[in-house]
Symmetry: D2
Subunit: 358 residues, 4 copies
C-alpha cells in the first residue's frame, strides 16, 4: 500500500523517554538497515547523552528540524499521548513513514484523521501494539484460529494490580497529557490482544464504568514501588485508576476489569479465551495455560519459553515495512476496532449508559 | 406489616429435595416453637421416609391437602423454580405465611405478583437469600456501612467454577423447570450479597451476555464430580452455563462473571468491594480479607470463624416473623432489585444490548 | 504364598467406625464373591443398625465369637491402632486371612510379629495403604519407572494443614490408643506413596522432630470444623500435631514436613518427585502436575480424572487375593520399609539425633 | 571491642562486581563520613569506569597496593568466595577494619581463623548478612522476642526456585571459586534469618542432602532468564543446585528445602516460624504474614511496607562501627552458628549421615 524506500532507513526518534531509550533505540541501533539520524527530546541533557551512546549526529529539543529534514525517511513518535495525532499527521504530510507509540491518539476521531493522512500520503503508519509480535500471543492466536478451542464463547480481560499507578501526579495521571488512565494505558493492550487473537473486527456496543478513587489523594497513596515515579505530591491526578466494562463485537463478547490500583491485593494480569472445547489463560508477558477436557480427563498445560523481545521484532518489522513494503501487524487500519472500543467505553462511562454502534 | 399467629407455628413443607431435607427440616424439627404438620413431595418413598425420621403425621404427593388445611399457618415452598410463583400465591391466598426458596420466580413480573399477593393477604413472604444471615456477610455489610472502606467505587462478583454443572440433563439444566442456569442459580446469590452489603436499592441499567457452550454436549462433558448429579445423557440442557455483565445502580456499579463450567480451571468464588480507603474480598461461604493501606503500610487481613448455619438462622427468623411479626432480612420487598437485575440481564443478553431502566 | 479358599469369601468386620462403615462395608456388600458374616463393634446400637442396613446375620460387641467361628475365612481389623497387632495375629493364628487398617501397628517390632504370624499361618495379611490402588499414584509410579523423570534426586512430602486435628481429646489424640499423631496418621500415607512410587525398599537413616504445641490446650484450640470431632475438652492430647524429618534410603532421600495443625494457613498436601529430567507434584487425593523442560520450553501439565475409589479397589483385590491367591499391593511384606521409617523417626525425635540403620 | 578511627573512614573496595557496583559503592559514595580511596578489580575497564562514576582517585587490578596503603582504614571484600578468608585476614593483619561479603568463607575453620585475626588485630570484621538490617526481619524478630508467637516449635525454610541457577558454567557454579551452590549462596541467608530471629546460638546436629542434577547438562538447561548469566556452555557445574536438611539447635529445630533449580515450578521463598500461639511466614525480601487464632477466630495478617534498603543500612552501620566503635548486627562472632551449620550440612551430605555436635 505504501511506498517503499532504499536502505538504509534514515530515522528520527521524536521523544526519548523510557520506551524509546530502553526499547526502540537499542533495536534501531543494532539493525544494520537503519541509520539513526535525529534524536529529539525536550530534555537537552538526556538527548545529548543518548546521542553519544548511540552515535547519533543530530539532536534537537524541537521537532521541526527533524520533520523538515528531507533526509529522514521515517520517524518514531514516542511523545506524550496528546501529541501523537498532530505530530504523526505532520510527519506523514512531510512524506515520512511513521511509527507511533500506543495509544494512537486520545480520541478516536484523531485516529481516523491519522489513518486518512497515511492513506493520503502513501506512507506507512504503524501503532506500537507490540504484543502482536509476542510469541505467546501469536501461538494463542494460531491455536484459536486452528480450532483447538472450538468456538470462542467469551473473552475476559483482567488487568488488576494492587498498587501500580505510574508516576502519580505526573504526565501519566494528567488527563490533558495522557488522555486517560488505566483503560488507555493498559486496557488498550489487553483489548488489542483479545481482538487480535480472536479476529474481532468491529464492535457493536460498549458499556463501561471508570473511577479514580485511589490515586486522587496523592499524598496519602500507599505503595511499595512506583514505575515512572516518584510521586509528584502537588501534581495532578484526573484520570481513572479503575475501569470495567463489556463490549459486544462481531465475534465473542469481551468483558474486562482493570486497575492501576485497587484495594484488593491479588494481582490478575491475564486474558481468558473461553472456548466450548478448550480454553486459554494468557498471562500478560508470561506464557499461557491451555485447559482441555477430552475423554473424561481434565488437562491444564502451562507453557513458557524464553521469547524474542516483541518490541524489537515489531520495530524490525516496521523497518522492513518501510524499506520493502512488507506487511506489518500494527498498521493503523488494523487497530481501529480497539481504538473505537476504548473511545466508546469512555463515552459510555461518562454518559452512564451503553453506547450502541449497530 | 403481616399478621402474627399463636405458637407453635404449624408448618407444611412443599417439596422435600436436597434443600428441604438437608437444611430446612432439621432446622424446623429442632425449633420448639414449630410443629411440622405436613410433608409433601412427588416421590412417595422419600416423603414417607422423611416423615418417619422427623415424626411428621401427614404426608402427601399432592399440594392441595396441605394448602387447604386450615391448621397450617406457614408453608415452605421448596419446589422447582417454575412452580414458586403459583404455589406461593396460592398459599398466601389461603392465608398462609410463605417461605419460598430462591429465586423467588423465574420472571420478575411473577415476583411482583407474589409481592402483591403477600400484601393483599397480609401474610409474610420471605425468599431464601440465606446469605443475609451469614455472619461474614453481616460483618462485611457492617464494615461498609460504618465507613471502613470509604466510598465503594465498584463491586465485582466472580462465581466461576471449572466443572460444576449440577445434575446435567436434569431439572437444573432444563429451562422450563429451572428458568435459567448459573445466573439464576448462583448469580442471584452473588448479586444479592453485593446489593445487600452496599445498600443498593434500585438499578439503572443492565447489560449482560450468556452462553451455554460447555454443557450442551452432555455425553462429552468431562468432570470430576457432580452435585445434584449424575448426568442424564438423554436429558436437556437449554440454560446458560456462563454469564457476564455490568449493572449500573443507585449505588456503585456491579460487574460480574460467572460459570457453572468454563474451560479455565481456576476457581473464583468471591465478591470484591472496592472502596477508596480500603477493600474487601468476601469469599463465598468462607471468610473475607480486608485490604487496608494506611501510613504507607499495606495490610491484608483474612478473617475466618466457625459460623452459625445461615440457613438455620434464616429459618428461625422466619418462624419468629410469622409468630411475632418481627422483621426478616429476606422479605420479598427487599429482594426486588436483585430479581429485577437478573430478569433484565437475561433480557439484555437476548436482545444483545443494554436494558435502560432510568 | 498364602492358601486360597473357595468363594464366596466369608468375612467378619471387626470395628465398625468411620472407615468400615463408609468404605469397607459398602465395598464388601456389593462384591458378589463376598458374604458378610459378622459385624463386631463395641457400640451395640451402631453394629445393630449397620447389620440391618447390610443384611448381616451375626453381630457382637466382642471379638471372640467371630474369631472363633470356623465359617469365617477373612477378617477386617478396623479397630483402634493399639489393637491392630494382637487382633491380627490372633486372627491369623485362627487361620483367617487378615486385612488390617493402617498403620499396621504402633511399633515396628509388632509389625514384624504380624508378618511372622502371617508366614507361619500361611494366610494373607494386607495393610490398608489404599493409595497404592489410586489411579494417580499408579500413573505417577509408572511414569517414574519408565524414566520420564530421569533419575529421582529427591522426594519431598508436605502434609500440612492449618487446623485439622481429628477428634481433639478423643482416640486420635490419645497416644495409648492411636500410638501417634500426624506422622503415624498422615505421614505414613505420604511416605508410603513416596516409597511405593520410587521403589524404595530399605532405609539407611531417619532423622525427625515432632511437637504437639497446637492441640495441647484443648479448650483454646480455634478451628473451623473438625473431622472425627467434636472436641472432648477434658480429653487427652499427648501425640504430635507436627513432624518434620529426613530419611536416607536405598533410593532417593525423602524429606517431609507435616502438621495436623500449625500456625501457618497455607494448605500443602502433596508429594514432590524431583527428577533430573522432569518432576511431578502429586496432590494427595487430587491429580498431579508434570513439570518438563525440553527444547527450551518449560511445560507444566496438570492432569485430573474421575477416579475409581481406591479403597474399593484395594478391598476387591484383597478378596481376590484370599480367594485366588493373586497378588496384592499391600501385602505386609511390602510395607515394612515405611513402618520401619516411621518407627525410627519417632525414636530419632525422642533421642534428639538421627537413627542410623546401615 | 575494636579500635575506632577518625572520620572520614578511608575505604578500599576489593572486587567491583554486581554486589559492589550496585549496592556498596552507591552506599559508600553517598555517606558523608566516608572517603572512597581505592577501587580494585581484575577487570581494568570496569574498575576505571566505576572510579570515574564515583570519583575515586586510585584504581588497581591487584590487591596489594590498597592493602599496603596506610591511609586505608577499612576494606570491603567483595571478591569470589574462595578468596574471602585470605584477603580478609591479610587486611586485618594490615590493621584494616573489614567488611566481607557472605559467606564469610567456604569452610568453617577459615571462618574461625578470620575471627581470630579480627580479635588479634583489634579490628572489626563484619559479614554481609544484610537481612539483619531488613525492616521485616527486624519486626519478625521483635514479635518473636516479645512473645507474640508463644514458644517457637519449629522453623522451616523454603528457598525453592524453578529455574534460577546464576551464571551457569561460571564462577557461581564452579566449586573451586564459589565453594558451594544453593546452600552456600541462598541457604546461608535463610538459615541466618532463622537463627537471628529466634536467637539460636549453637547447633546440636546437622543432617543434609544435596544434589546437582539440573544444571549438570549445561547445554540442555532450559530457562527463561538468568541472573549473573548468560550460561557458559563449556564451563563448569560442580556445585549443588538442590539441598534439604534438618538442623537441631539450642532453640527450635530448623528444616529446610532449597533449589536454584528443580523440576517443580512453584516458587517458594519464605521462612515459617511456627509458634504454639501464632505463626509467621516471612517472605524473603517481601513482607510477612502473621497467623493468629484467638477466641475462635483465625486471622491472617499480611503486612508490606516500602522499606529502607537493608544493604545500605548495613553499610552505614559498618561505617559507624569503624568510626565510633558502635555495635553491628553482623559481627563475625554472631554469625558462627550459621557458618558451622552450613559446613556440617555439607559434611553430612558427603558422609551420608547426620553430624552430631553435642
Amino acid at each position: 500500500m505504501a511506498a517503499s524506500c532504499t536502505p538504509p532507513l534514515r530515522t528520527a526518534v521524536l521523544g526519548c523517554g523510557a520506551i524509546a531509550s530502553l526499547a526502540h533505540l537499542p533495536s534501531l541501533s543494532s539493525n544494520p538497515r537503519v541509520v539513526l539520524r535525529w534524536l529529539v527530546d525536550a530534555d537537552p541533557e538526556r538527548v545529548r547523552r543518548l546521542a553519544e551512546t548511540y552515535g547519533v549526529g543530530r539532536v534537537s529539543t524541537r521537532l521541526e528540524e527533524a520533520l523538515d529534514d528531507p533526509q529522514v525517511d521515517a520517524v518514531l513518535v514516542c511523545l506524550p499521548n496528546h501529541l501523537h495525532a498532530e505530530v504523526s499527521i505532520r510527519a506523514l504530510e512531510a512524506g515520512k513513514h511513521v511509527f507511533c507509540e500506543k495509544p494512537a491518539a486520545t480520541r478516536h476521531e484523531d485516529v481516523l484523521r491519522m489513518q486518512a493522512a497515511s492513506l493520503e500520503a502513501g506512507r506507512r503508519l504503524c501503532i506500537g501494539f507490540h504484543n502482536r509480535y509476542d510469541d505467546d500471543v501469536s501461538t494463542v492466536r494460531e491455536r484459536i484460529r486452528s480450532g483447538t478451542l472450538g468456538r470462542i464463547l467469551h473473552v475476559h480481560c483482567a488487568f488488576r494490580e494492587h498498587r501500580s499507578i505510574p508516576g502519580l501526579g505526573g504526565p501519566f495521571t494528567t488527563s490533558a497529557i495522557s488522555g486517560g488512565g488505566v483503560l488507555l494505558d493498559w486496557g488498550v493492550h489487553f483489548l488489542d490482544i483479545a481482538f487480535h487473537c480472536t479476529g474481532i473486527g468491529s464492535i457493536r456496543s460498549a458499556s463501561g464504568v471508570v473511577s479514580g478513587g485511589i490515586g486522587r489523594d496523592i499524598g496519602r497513596y500507599a505503595y511499595l514501588d512506583m514505575w515512572a515515579g516518584p510521586p509528584v505530591v502537588d501534581g495532578r491526578f484526573d484520570v481513572e485508576d479503575f475501569a470495567a466494562g463489556l463490549v459486544r463485537t462481531d465475534g465473542p463478547p469481551v468483558s474486562f476489569i482493570g486497575a492501576w490500583a485497587q484495594n484488593v491485593a491479588d494481582r490478575e494480569m491475564h486474558i481468558d479465551f473461553l472456548g466450548d472445547r478448550a480454553g486459554i489463560r494468557l498471562f500478560y508477558g508470561g506464557g499461557y495455560t491451555l485447559f482441555e477436557a477430552e475423554g473424561g480427563i481434565l488437562t491444564d498445560t502451562r507453557i513458557r519459553t524464553r521469547k524474542a523481545d516483541p518490541r524489537r521484532r515489531m520495530m524490525d518489522a516496521f523497518v522492513e515495512a518501510c524499506l520493502a513494503g512488507s506487511g506489518h501487524r500494527c498498521d493503523i487500519g488494523d487497530t481501529l476496532a480497539v481504538s473505537l472500543a476504548v473511545d466508546r467505553l469512555y463515552q459510555s462511562a461518562q454518559q452512564g449508559k451503553e453506547i450502541d454502534l449497530c
